[in-house]
Assembly symmetry: C2
Homo-oligomer: 457 residues x 2
């Protein structure tokens, strides 16, 4: 897809160079908003307003929503008041609220001045909720029905009020804004008798989330239950909005990217890679690199502490990288598996003993297999093939024993730390490979030199 | 959510122990299929058919779809032919095809024998497509309309045929099974004049995918365009089915888990963590551990090659872990960022020069900052505070120079390998932390000893 889009962008740019605006417009109206927005991302700044004004109103608004904040700001700064008002009229309230959140203060002032009073009130309501909460990603535009309506009345209400709603397919039955149940358009359409009251068709087992619920949890629920939308209720139990599946998909994608970044020792950023410059990448990467580098002081201290032993048996040094890497890999296998299971909601803290037991068994299997292979490798490759005469059976035994212990320690630490982090309210993804590796390095060296001192000296 | 489910399961088990079946049934019918399926996962085998038979037909089928294959097999083996036929009647065709794919041969034979001929034909059609293709996850049950129909006729057709369709909200306009466009139920309902022909309301710019398209790409498209469904066309351009957003969400979740597992040097498994036993975990983890351990032979060889140098300057050994870890962390930051951008479709192979240039700049920034901090740390902490008398300014300079070079090498390798892997048709996720670390380890040791030999001896 990426390759195809690159081609398309080139064609559009050529048309723009040649000022073939009617042809450009003809192509643009056949395209999807997300694809048009991608074209804008790569365009020189001065050409953006020109291309944007070629789009019909509704499509223009749809593209606008898909753009990066810097592009949006550029466009708004170039808009007349009338153009801005038109755009705001086309936006859904949750998208307008997102926009207000991203823009600098002076742009926000212009936006709020041009929005109609009702929209302004709704934007303010959404902005009151903390970042990453269900309230902050919901939209207040949903279809509500009264329980006494008939199916025919319900359908006619949907036809009358549906145009401004983000989804009409799930409608909510409320009384005094209290949520009684939901009904899908499919249920309504498939009901044969048009005079059936909505209350007879609706499903009362409605799952709702609180405005303060974590957005990732809400997205997981939408995915788990295959819902098109989830109703959001405030602390008084009144329905205030819905979160739709497309926002949930975006949240899941963002949260996954964030998890992966944290697991790779990067502080998360919301900017796509190609749009971040080196300085931004540096700022997101250097803190963890520095912290982890400094914490490697401990491993250094351990080696220094055994310096005299190492000087007598330099051959031991050659196996340090292998032991450290295998320990790190074993630990990160366990931590990544557990972190993922936690973020999918498959694991609770009460599962910790079961998890540790499973990891111990796996570690014993992995550790013994690796130790055996390692012994064969050392004796055949390192000693026979490469002719390292310093290697004795005892050296090999020390290395292999350390290997087995390291794998065990790594796997237990790897599964325990993320679960404890989650319990303590931290992000478990922090307890991934880099962090685990640093701890396991130190421990495996302690075991290595400890065993070596007992057996070899 | 995980904690809450644990509590609920306990309550249900108590009710089952006390044989309070009517109360159990009352609770179950208020629950969501995915939650009921989770209850079945933890139940002793002999009680599963009992609990399953308490569910009303439709809910039973919905739960069945959410269960793990071993539970499904257990249930089918206990079913009478009539029960099996009832279940198959309630399943959507794509779910039935999934089932046939997962079950052992003798169970499949029974399923196909009990399915009606039409369903059997459709199952076989879906099964013909390769695993992970759009054809294999599509459903053949969608609403198709003729272009000459009026809006009123279209709505009435939906009401008549909609009950068996997985989604009715996006309808496809076809002629001789050729896809002309699509129309949403929202568009149909919001059209004021019921006599408008469907062809006037439909959107002709319909995005479709081929039956052979990769399922991850299809899922990314659904997420990118916020569609409820995407039409699937065969090689002759005839529409054969649709992929719905809920299946896309599942695919994205699976593919993300798979990416994370591969990035942590685990061969992917489809079984949830808590349901995999130690032997299964072992089998998925040991191949990579062994491969990576054996490839550490190179780093060992490098150290052995410089053994005499190390014996003279044992203090150099103390910094090996820090250099290796920082190199590994720097490399995995770049590789994970690039792997994620590739899987989100943000990067094409043509971006490689831009990516390498960005990483070089970032590496220079990170490398110099780390080298400076490292120098200060070595002189203050290691030399002054810990009193390591062997450390000279020259030693510190060698370590810091190696640090900077390692970071540069790690970042360039980290961003290049995943992109080349993708270009060559491999999974870029393989080129993550463990693999990069092994390569960077060897290179950083070469630089370290090379520089040390020039400057220190």
């Amino acid at each position: 897809m990426a390759e195809y889009n690159a081609l398309l962008k080139k064609t559009l740019k050529t048309l723009l160079d040649e000022k073939k605006y009617p042809t450009l417009k003809d192509i643009l109206v056949t395209m999807n908003p997300a694809d048009i927005a991608a074209v804008f991302e790569d365009l020189e700044e001065e050409r953006i307003p020109l291309l944007f004004r070629l789009l019909p109103k509704e499509l223009a608004a749809e593209c606008f929503v898909e753009m990066e904040p810097d592009r949006q700001e550029l466009l708004i700064r170039g808009f007349s008041d009338l153009e801005l008002r038109d755009l705001l009229g086309e936006l859904y309230v949750d998208d307008a609220a997102d926009l207000v959140e991203e823009m600098p203060a002076n742009v926000v002032k212009r936006i709020l001045a041009q929005a109609d009073p009702q929209t302004r009130r709704e934007i303010n309501q959404i902005l009151r909720y903390p970042e990453n909460s269900a309230g902050s990603i919901m939209t207040t535009e949903y279809v509500s029905l009264r329980p006494s309506m008939t199916v025919a009345e319900a359908i006619s209400r949907i036809r009358k009020t549906g145009v401004d709603k983000e989804t009409i397919y799930t409608c909510y039955i409320t009384e005094d804004r209290r949520l009684l149940g939901f009904v899908t358009v499919k249920d309504l359409l498939l009901t044969e008798d048009d005079d059936t009251p909505v209350s007879a068709v609706m499903d009362e087992n409605v799952i709702s989330v609180s405005t303060m619920a974590d957005q990732e949890e809400v997205a997981q629920m939408l995915s788990r239950y295959n819902f098109l939308a989830l109703p959001v209720v405030d602390t008084d139990g009144r329905m205030v909005g819905i979160v739709t599946f497309d926002d949930a998909m975006d949240v899941l994608e963002e949260e996954t990217t964030e998890d992966m970044e944290i697991m790779a020792a990067i502080t998360p950023s919301e900017k796509p890679y190609l749009r971040s410059n080196a300085w931004e990448l540096f700022k997101h990467r250097i803190p963890w690199l520095m912290l982890l580098m400094v914490s490697a002081t401990f491993t250094g201290m351990i080696i220094t502490g055994f310096e005299s032993a190492l000087a007598a048996q330099v051959v031991l040094t050659a196996f340090i990288p292998m032991l450290m890497d295998t320990g790190g890999n074993s630990g990160s296998q366990s931590s990544v598996t557990v972190i993922r299971a936690l973020s999918l909601g498959e694991l609770a803290f009460t599962d910790l003993p079961a998890v540790i037991w499973k990891e111990i068994q796996t570690a014993v299997l992995c550790g013994s297999a690796l130790a055996m292979l390692c012994f064969v490798k050392i004796m055949l490759v390192d000693k026979l093939l490469l002719g390292s005469t310093d290697i004795t059976v005892l050296t090999a035994a020390v290395v292999c024993f350390t290997m087995a212990v390291t794998v065990l320690v790594a796997k237990v630490i790897g599964c325990t730390l993320p679960m404890c982090a989650k319990k303590l309210g931290f992000d478990p993804a922090v307890m991934a490979s880099p962090f685990i590796t640093t701890i396991v390095d130190a421990l495996s060296l302690l075991v290595y030199f400890g065993v070596a001192q007992v057996l070899l000296f």
